[in-house]
Each structure stands twice: as C-alpha cells, then as structure tokens.
Symmetry: C2
Subunit: 393 residues, 2 copies
C-alpha cells in the first residue's frame, strides 16, 4: 500500500458509503439517521456527514419528527421527490414516447406520439425524438426537476450509444445517443426496448414471488415486433453479444414461412401484430380488441392461434431457462383475455408440466419500456450518488 493511493482509496470509500446510506434511505425511508447507522454499520457521525452531503445535493429530504427512536423524536429521512429525475425515451415502430420520473419513481411527465415510423426517413424520426426529448426536458425544468440523464429504448440492438440493428425499422447505424445528447445536454444511453420493458415490469409491475419482488422471469413484449427480456437475479441477461432474449425469433413452425429476420417460422412471423391483424381482417389493434369483444370469429381465431404459437415458444423458454414466471406485456397483455388460455394450453401440451410457472399479465401496457428507461437513469443515481454529485453543475 503506497501513500499515493490513499486519497483514491478515501474517495472510493466515501463513494461506497454515500451509496450505502442513500440505498438504505431508498429501501426503508422514512428512516432516522440512527437507524441508518445501525443498519449500515457506519458510525452516527459518518452517517450525519454523508446525509448532509446528500441533503445539500437534493437527493434526500427531511420530514418532521414523525418517526421516534426509543421515545426521542427524530427527523425522518426520505428520497427527495424533487431532487433529481430520469428522462426515459422510446423509439418504437409505431410511436415515440417520453417519460420523466423522479427519485421516488413517481411519473412527472408522460407523452406519446403515435405515428408509423417504418416508411419515414431516419433523420426525420430522430429529429422528432429530439423534439420529444426537448419538450420533456423543458417540462422537467419548469417543475424545477434537474435531470440526471436520459435512456432511450430502441427496438433492436444498440451498442455504445449507436443503434446497430432494428429488424422492423431497418435503419442503418445511427449515433442516436450523440444526437439526443447534443440536443438536451444530457448523458444519454441506449438500450434494447425489450430489456427495458422487462426492467420496467420488475420495478413497477408489482409482481411478487415467494413473498418478495419477482426477480427471475421472462418478459414478453409484443408491439409491432415481438421481443423478450430475460431477468436473472434482478439483472437483464444479455448473452455473449448483447443479443439474448430475442423471443420473437424462436422457431415455432419449422416448416413455416420466411421471417423478416431471414429465418423461417419465427414466433414474430407467425404471431406478430401484422399476422394477427391480417388474419383477423382488421386494420388496427383497437379494431382487433373491439372485434374480440364483439365475439367476431375471425378475430378470435387469429388471436387464439397467435396464443398457441406463443405457447410453443414459451414452452421452449421454460425448458431452457426455468424462470419463476412469465410476464405477458405490450400487445399480448391487451389481448390476454382472448389469448392466455390458448397459450397456457399450448405450454401444457409442449412441456407436459402439471404446474408450470405462472403466466402473469402486465398492467403497464406499452409504457413498460419507456418507464424502464427512466427508472434506469434514476437507479444509476441511487446506486452511485458520488458519480452524480461529481457530474452536477
């Protein structure tokens, strides 16, 4: 151990203690300084100093002497709703979306622009997203909410801020993080929308497993494309080249037709929105839902058949990954009343399991990914407040 490394070690220690204290307040607040000290193993004076820094950075707020400790009134610490916020953005095949959520995960802004982005120029769509981002950032500023950063959900593969592959938009490589960053002045990261939807579902979906939050599951996100997010121990499973979880391209009909991905008989080709709408002879998802509600035979058959194909894919998912649950999101959640029975029957037929893991239905609709994006930014602050403090103007 050399003398030179000591300041670095001290900074590292302070950073990890700030994270320890903020994490404890996030999990258990409102909570007194004394209890934070007891639960983190830090001394009361260390906790007081760290809390003072977090309060002056606006991340922690104090409330009156509500909580008491051995009869003595103590101020309670909580995450500060106005302290900082995350900007979640989403580019999807037929909409753009923005969400701002504060440190307590409360939504402070939400905007969706519905428009088919498939036949548009990339630059136009990016310009629209930048505009959506600017407007959202303006709303945050008007509410006095400093943004900690932005995360963009993309319908495909993104690496290091660049969109690499978008099967349904068929974009070239796009340096999207730079474009949004320059327009907003924020640090911007990109992530696959199916992975973010899975995280959104874990954080905001309210699902439980064995008395705690559900942390090992597969999330099916069906918008125009069908995506999947694999969550293992609370983290997204990405595979060796960040391509894991592509549920839409699991083979469900080996002799089936060619898919946009180049494969044959993929789930998305057999049970994607386009296939369902075309078989049901309706134009939009709203039309489809109405037709199902009205008991229209063609619509119900189309949805049931999609559910059966989905069950084939999920049987293979259960067999390979053994998750604690499957969560149906996006369009599949909307269609669940007419689809889930066929999916469950198909899972039973193909696994032989008498008690397969539960098939849960998301309540977040198509907001899961953009909320997961905003939540990702907020969690980076809570996991590493020192980095946030260092970046603040």
């Amino acid at each position: 151990m050399t003398v030179r490394s000591e300041p670095a070690q001290h900074a590292g220690m302070r950073a990890s203690n700030l994270a320890l204290v903020l994490g404890e307040v996030a999990r258990t607040g409102p909570v007194s300084r004394a209890r934070v000290a007891a639960r983190t193993g830090l001394t009361k004076s260390s906790v007081s100093g760290l809390v003072a820094d977090l309060i002056s950075a606006g991340l922690i707020g104090e409330s009156g002497p509500a909580a008491t400790e051995r009869g003595r009134p103590a101020t309670a610490l909580s995450l500060a709703p106005g302290g900082t916020a995350g900007l979640g953005l989403e580019i999807n095949v037929d909409y753009l979306a923005a969400v701002v959520t504060d440190l307590t995960d409360a939504p402070r802004y939400h905007h969706v622009v519905r428009r088919d982005n498939r036949d548009r120029e990339v630059d136009e769509v990016v310009a629209d997203l930048v505009e959506v981002a600017r407007t959202a950032a303006g709303s945050a500023a008007a509410q006095g909410l400093p943004l900690a950063g932005a995360c963009v959900a993309v319908p495909g593969l993104a690496v290091d801020g660049t969109v690499i592959r978008t099967p349904n938009l068929r974009w070239p490589r796009v340096d999207l993080a730079d474009a949004v960053g320059e327009a907003t002045g924020l640090d911007v990261e990109l992530e696959n929308e199916a992975n973010l939807a899975a995280l959104g579902e874990m954080w905001f979906g309210g699902h439980e497993h064995e008395g705690g939050p559900l942390r090992d599951f597969v999330h099916v996100s069906g918008e125009i494309g069908i995506g999947g997010g694999i969550v293992v121990g609370g983290e997204v499973f990405r595979g060796a080249h960040a391509g894991a979880g592509e549920l839409g391209h699991v083979v469900v009909a080996p002799d089936g037709p060619r898919c946009a991905c180049g494969g044959h008989g993929c789930l998305e080709r057999m049970a994607g929105q386009q296939e369902i709408l075309s078989r049901a002879q309706v134009a939009t998802m709203a039309d489809l839902t109405r037709a199902c509600e009205a008991g229209d035979r063609a619509a119900l058959d189309a949805v049931t058949d999609a559910g059966r194909h989905l069950g084939v894919a999920l049987a293979s998912v259960l067999t390979l990954l053994d998750p604690a649950a499957i969560v149906l999101g996006g369009a599949f959640a909307t269609l669940a009343p007419w689809l889930a029975t066929a999916t469950e029957a198909s899972i039973a037929r193909h696994t032989g399991a008498t008690a397969p893991p539960p098939l849960l239905v998301s309540g977040l609709g198509s907001d899961a990914a953009v909320r997961g994006a905003a939540g990702t930014v907020v969690r980076r602050v809570i996991d590493d407040p020192a980095a946030y403090l260092a970046r603040r103007p």
Copy 2:
C-alpha cells in the same frame, strides 16, 4: 466492529488468503513465493506462512531452484499432484462410470461399466454404483491419493443430495448422496450430468474464444437422452428451480408425437438415440456409426434428419441465449461427421444469421460429465482450501 467478531474475521481473512495463494499457484505455477506475493498483494512473510500450511496439507509442492527471480535462484511452487484428488461418478441410462483426477486434473483412475439401467431395480443400480465408487476409492488409496470428496452425475434433476427426477430411468426419489457417502466415507454431492458435461468441456475440452478459454457457451450432451448445459461467464446457469438447460425438451416439431416428458415434438423425441437407431434400423450406436461409414442410406437419412431437428432447437437457443459457441458432445460428437452439416444448414435456415457462433465438436466423448464431476471436487479444494484443511482427518 466488536471485539467478539475479531477471531471470526481473522479466520475469514486467513481462509480467503489461503484461497488467493493456492489460486495463484494453480493458475501460474511453477511460480516463486516472491511472485505470488507480488501478484496477490500479500506480504512475503504472509505468503511464506500460508505456503507452509498448504505444503504441509499436501496441496502445494516445491521443485528445485529452476525459476529465478532477479538472478537469485528461488524454489518454485506448483500444485502437488499427489496432494488430494476428486472422485467423479456417473449414473447414466446405459452405463456407470468413475474417474479419479488429482489436483492437476490428471486422470488417475477411469472405469466404465456398460449396462442398460432402464429395466433394473433402483437398489441394484445404486448398489452397483456404490461398488464402482468403492473400487475407485480403493485405487486412489493404493496410489496414496487422499480423496477430497465425490460428485455424482445423474441423468436428471437432483436437489440437496436427493435424485428428484430422471426422465429416462423413471426412478422414484433416491437419497443417492447418503448411499454413496455411507459406503465411501466421503462428502458426496449430486449434479445433473448435462451441467457437469458442460463444465467438463470448459475445463478439459481445450476450446478457445477470443484468445481465452471459452466461458459462455451451450453444451449439447446426447446419450440416450439429450441434455444441455448453459455456461455463462464460466458458471452453470441453473434457472429458478435448477431445471434450466433442458435442451432435449425444446419443441422442434409442434405437431409432433408425444415425448416421455409428457410434451409433444421435443428434440429428444425427434432426434434422440432411440429415434435415430429405429429409423436407421440398427441396434446400437456402434452399428449406426459403421452403417454411416459404409454410406448406408437409411442410416445417413436418420442422422441427417436428427441433425436438422437439432438445428431447429439450436436456432432457438442462439436466439434466446446468444452464446459465444455451441459445443456438440456425447453421441452428437460421435455422429458429427454425418450430422453437423445438416445442423448448420438448419441453424442458418432458422436464424437467417450469416455468421452464427461456431458449432464446435467435443473431443471428450461420453467422459465429459464424469470428468466434470471429478473436476468439480478438485475445484472446491482450490477455491476454498481452508474448508478442505478443516475437514481433513
């Protein structure tokens, strides 16, 4: 921090330092004490003390002043081949096996008993395995090799020393770890044979990826049943209920016949050994190989068709898990000369990928699982020598 916790902390520190030193010797030996100190960040005197303990426990050996450090001759430290060894055992559908490997992973004993275990009483098979284990332990004793424990590969699911589910043997619950432990006096653990085969492949298969050992892959193990082992970052991926990786029951023919598992159209039902042998109209794998070598049409068609089904399953595996490579083991490795082309074509057809991850062929044959079992025992000693020292008589 209270005074009471200090002895425990001290013991924990010593345990982790013993592991640090032994791990360094395992990775880089023959190596001098000075270099171990430099690489672990421990003082030279700490290293000397820890090394003395590891030498007296027989885990580390010294060799003459071959390696030199700044011109000064220094004794070199290596893992001691005779220090301790692991007993690997395997119950499979048509054989029992035992392997003893020493600390350097060198095989010191190997025995396989070929006999179909499907129509036999559980007690008989267990008695045979116990006998195989006793003979192997006797050989280790005769070689002066103290055994650190045993690990049994089972063709199914085992939890806490009990065999829970064996799709092809159809056993009831069997407390196999106790049975083998009582007979041999060893600590015994059970593990799924497909997972152990994957570990065996990683440790002994000699595959590389981007200049290092392959640590993210899916291993296909085909004996009578078809199994799969998913390795992520060097560890077996088990899923929420230890059931992950069941490649044999991925759906490859949604309208296919019923499988022994209760599902329909599973890979094992369409491309398992029984199906291949029956379609090829031969009785044994040896017959099948001879028929393929002789260019027999029925045999080649049966193997090609199995390869095609395997490709459908692997396409879904690549899509969901995005591994760096796939390794064909067991019977699929034996059949690879006639099967792999069909498998690769089927993967290409179902993923549309122009450059899918490589399809590698195992050179370990049907020994991968039992070698993985012995390797598991040896690695427990290297990862936690303090626990081994505490258990020694």
